[in-house]
Amino acid sequence: MDAIFKALADPTRRKLLDRLFRKQGQTLTELIDGLDMRRQSATKHLAVLEEAQLVTCQWHGREKLHYLNPVPIAEINRRWLDKFSGDRAAAILNLRDALQENDNE
């Protein structure tokens, strides 16, 4: 579990996860398109994310596609959140999202 939190403790890596959340199955080129990030740097960050199992890869011919793997996050959810009822937590998150919507867009 240390690996998950270490991986999430970096804004660049969270940004990469955000991009995969929006669109699954991206190549490295696609993933860093429009970002001020070198391939080499992105590769290192992705290796940390893979180590933490937050990103998983599939080969399609010669293309390596990256996917956000939400299973470790579901494990965190199971450990500390389930007891507080998923319904209630989801309701609060929805409320927060609704309130923050204007800020994010």
Partner: protein, 162 residues
């Protein structure tokens, strides 16, 4: 578009044989898979069904591959009351690889329609199902499906006891 839509991976501290059993027997699935029981002969061409507590079929599919205990693939279609029942069948593939600590389980759910209700329903659902399977196999602890309805559901209970 032939790219997989969703790929999930987890490492489970149990041998592939045990993980296979977790995926293919009703006594296991009801403990972590939204309280449903799986029913199939697990042979290519056979049907596979997931039944809820009321014996209604909630997911229906056809076994495409069953290479025990390494690979299992079947089609996936929500049935019955589900608003997603009209979506065409999609495909789920489980790959079980033996590793030092147990099993690397990879799940690919593909052949989904872009933006379909099925895609929306499964996108977050699998992570919880897989995390539940991992916990069950590693600790013997089942997912408690009764808790939210009994005391913690904010909609039905007053806040007096909270």
């Amino acid at each position: 578009m032939s790219k997989p839509e969703f790929v999930y991976m987890t490492l489970i501290a149990a041998p592939p044989e045990q993980v296979w059993k977790g995926l293919t027997t009703a006594e296991f699935t009801r403990q972590y898979w939204h309280n449903t029981r799986v029913r199939s002969d697990f042979k290519p061409g056979c049907k596979i069904e997931f039944l809820n507590e009321d014996d209604n079929i909630v997911v229906l599919g056809e076994i495409l591959r069953a290479d025990h205990p390494n690979e299992l693939a079947y089609t996936w279609q929500f049935t019955g009351d589900s608003a997603a029942a009209d979506d065409p069948p999609s495909r789920v593939t489980f790959t079980l690889e033996e590793i030092k600590v147990g099993t690397r389980l990879t799940i690919v759910h593909d052949q989904l329609e872009e933006g379909s209700l099925t895609a929306t329903m499964i996108s977050g659902g699998w992570a919880h199902v897989i995390a539940g399977l991992k916990t069950l196999l590693e600790t013997g602890e089942a997912v408690d499906f009764t808790a939210p309805e009994e005391s913690d559901c904010p909609g039905r209970q007053s806040v007096a006891n909270g």
